[in-house]
Structure formats: structure tokens, C-alpha cells
Amino acid sequence: MSPEPVVSLRQVSKEFGQGGVVALQDIDLELAPGEFVSLIGPSGCGKSTLLRIIGDLIEPTRGDVVVNGKPAHQARLDRDYGIVFQDAVLFDWRTVAKNISLPLEMMGWNRGKRAERVREMLDLVELTGFGDHHPWQLSGGMQQRVAIARALAFHPPLLLMDEPFGALDEMTRERLNLELLRIWEASGSTVVFVTHSIAEAVFLSTRVVVMSPRPGRIAGIVDIDLPQPRGIETREQPRFAELVRDVRRRLRAGGGFEQEGDTLEEELIVAEEGL
């Protein structure tokens, strides 16, 4: 790969407790600038842990994590990434506009610059005119868009997303998938996206990293060669179905289905009903 990777993981392992559970084992992964990479796997495969290690919210037990050409810790201090969780995690006591400007306040931006950027971000996530609302006045999907606007407000080169649409209904989820692709194209950020929906991972990503549980390992990587830009019709292409099948096979080979039993299988099947 010619350009310097945005994220580079080398032999990263994570154990919880003293000599206890191995959450991640020997993870090697590189993300090129502008990539959209999904981490998919059953619960307990360590995908959320891996995301937090990239963000220096958890320290790995072993291995090197380089973000934007520097150690993950330094990258966090330099605010090189924005993060979005499964719930919007908006501050109830702040308006939508003030929520979006929170990271800008931390970075010491002045009031005028903040207001201008907040307006841009509201336009970007199509919430123009909602700046003065309070979070609880918005629907779940709108709240999540505010969270995305907040994460991208300072134009970080990297966006970390931890099952951002997992708590939303299928309709809203598909709409936000489309919107996220548009935002990704507009912002040029690199995205790491944790999900357990196969369809969602295939639809959004340039690469899908399939993980297997106990200990968390990379079971395979699927290049998603669907043409860009993607739209509603993308899901109807035969190639889309092929890729979904490919990801599902790798999940099964990695033990994602058998070890977790019925509940997980159901979960993944439900997730595929987006097809």
C-alpha cells in the first residue's frame, strides 16, 4: 500500500483480568485513508474492544497501535478521531447545537467559529433548523445524526462507530446507511464501523473484516467491490447477494454460528432480512 495507513494494528492482543479471558489475539490490520471498514462478528468476538483499542479508550495487553502515524495515545490527545456509540449519548442539558459544539469547546474554538461549524454540520446531517431543540425532542434516528455531526464537527481524519444504528428500526437504519455513505464521501474520513448486520456491513464498506470469538481473531477479510456511489439499487444487485453469502460463510467457518447457538443465528438471520 502506497499511502501511509490511517490505522495500523500489529500483533494486538487483549486479555481481561489476570491471565483471564482472551478478548483479542494477534490482530493485524491496516486501514488506508478514505477506507470504510466494517468489523463484523458475533457478540464476544471483541469487535467493540478492538474499536476502543484504536481509540485508546482501552489499552491493549500486547501489540502496537498506530493511528495517523503516531501511537494511539498521542492520536487521542491530538483529537485524531471522532466516535459514535450505539446510543447517541447526547447531553440532555445541552441543545442540539451545543451538543455538536462540545468537542469544539474542548479544542478552544471561539464562539463565532463554533457557531459557523455547527451550522455546517447541521446542514450536513440534514437537521437544519433543529439547533435549538433539546435531544429528547428528536426521534432516535435524528439523535443518532446529531451524534454523527458531533463526531465529525472537528473534521477528524478517522471516524469510529460502534453499532451506531443497532438500536434503530430497519427503515430508519436503511435511510441512515444511505446518509452515512453520503457523509463519508463528503468528509473523506476513514471509517471503522462495528456491526453485527451482514447486509449493513456489505452495503456500507469497502472492506469487511470478519471476526470469530474466543479468542477474538480475524477469521477473514472480504473486499467489497460494489461500485460507488452506492444507492438503494445496490442491495438488489446479484453481486451484493454473493458478497453477503461470502461474509456469512466466513462467519460460519470462524465459528460464529455454532458456538453461539440459536440466538446468534437468529440474530444474524434477522439482520439479513434487510436484503
Partner: protein, 296 residues
Amino acid sequence: MSVAATARETRAASAGDWALRGARQALVLLGVLAGLWALWEAFKWVGEATELRIRAFQVNDRTFPHLHEIVASLFEPSRRGGPMLIEVLLDAALFTAREAAAGFALGALVGFTIGTVLAHSRLLQRGFLPYIVASQTVPILAIAPMVVVWLGSRGIAGWMSVAVIAAYLTFFPVAINTLRGLHAADPRALELMRSYAAGTWSVLWKLRVHAAMPFLFAAFKISATASVVGAIIGELPAGVPDGLGTAILNFNQYYATAPERLWATNLVAAAVGIVFFLIVVIAEKLVVRRAPEHVA
């Protein structure tokens, strides 16, 4: 845009609801007052008719004056040719309220500071918390004279000593709830702040304090009334003559001849406590902006 319009409609509708709710609450309040009055008079009537005796306690006009007599006594002169009792009591109440307010502010500040420091250090928490708890097991009546003597010897005015005594009762609930409330922040909100490389100070002021607000206001409600009690009790050893504490002591001496005056004084003291409580409730409504389901 349709969502904005709906929000506006809900706001307009809620203004009407508000008036209706206010009227209903006023009605309930009147009902409760009438009920209490009926209970009081019924107990008195039954007690007198059956010559009820509970050991030395006997129900009669001295132990149990009529409520209307208590209220009427407020509008009679407190002594021959003097001002009406209610004027005297309102003056005293205002004086005590000032002590209590100063004590509340001081106690809240000290309590918040202690809670914040302890929340950030497990070591200090282990070391100091037992003594802070112990401080509240010492009766205020034992502490009050010492405070008055210490501060008095430094030339500090009597009412300020009383405020310090009120603060002694106020700081504890605030300290404990601050400690608890500062740890109530959503773990993911803390991760978010960490992702911004936020320092302890920003996390405290931009997140933890806001998350602690419901806890803080619960403490303020307890402390608001406790500060009034503290001020009244503090006035006795401090020898401050202008407050409700002295009025209570004073009318206590005349209880045999004019019991309704002591009862009236108690009513005024209770009213001060209620006003303090309501001020905190209103402040909470103004300060805490939360989703409706979070508002207790």
C-alpha cells in the same frame, strides 16, 4: 420541519395544561388543609368529650387550642398596645430566614467542595468519610454553644455564628449526594469525553456536575429545611434575640396563658421551611433541563 411544528404545538398545548394543573393543585392543597383542620378539631372534640388522657397528656384548650384561635392570635396584638403578633413573627422569620439562607449557601458550598474532592480520590474518601459521617452523629445542641463561643471570641456577629450552625446541618446531605451524583455520569459519556482528551476539570464541569444535578437537588431539598431548623436551634445558645428561636423560647414561657401564640410561632417557622423548600423546587425546574420522563 413538520417535527418543529409539532414541537411548537405541544408547547402551546402544555401552556393550557399548566393552568389546568395549577388550578387542580391549588384545589388539592385546599382539600388537604381542610382535611387536616377537620382531623385536628375532631381529635380535640373526641379527646375532650371522652376526657382522654395519655399519661400526663390531656386534651384540652391548653394542649390543643382551636385552629381558628391559633390563626386569629396572629392578628391580635402580641402585647398590650404592641404590634400584631404576625408582624412580630414575620420580622423574626425574616431574620431567621437570612441566617438560614446564609447557612444554606455556606453549607452547600462546603458540602459540594468536600463531595467533589472525595469523589476524585478514593484515598481521601476512605480517610475522611467516616469523620464526616461522625460529625452528624454529634447533636447540634452540643456543637452550637462551642461555635458561638469560638466565633464570638473572634468578634464575629451572632447571626453569622447561627449561619455557621445552620451550615453544619446543610453540608452533610450535599456532600454525600455530590459524591454519589458525580459518579452517576453515563460511562459512554465519560468515554466520549476521554476521546476528546478532556481533562479532569472539563469532565467535572461539562459532564459530571450536570449528571449530578438530580442528586444535588435532592440534597438541596433536605438541606433547605434543615438549615431553617439549624438556624432556629442555633439562635438559642447564640443569644440572638431577633429570630424565631427566641420567639419560640419566649412564647414557651407564656404557654399556660396563651398557648395559641406558641402554636402560631410554630406555624410561621414551618412556613419558612416550606418557602425554602419551594425555592429549591423552582430553582430545580429552571436549572435542570431534562427529558420529561427524567423529571421527578
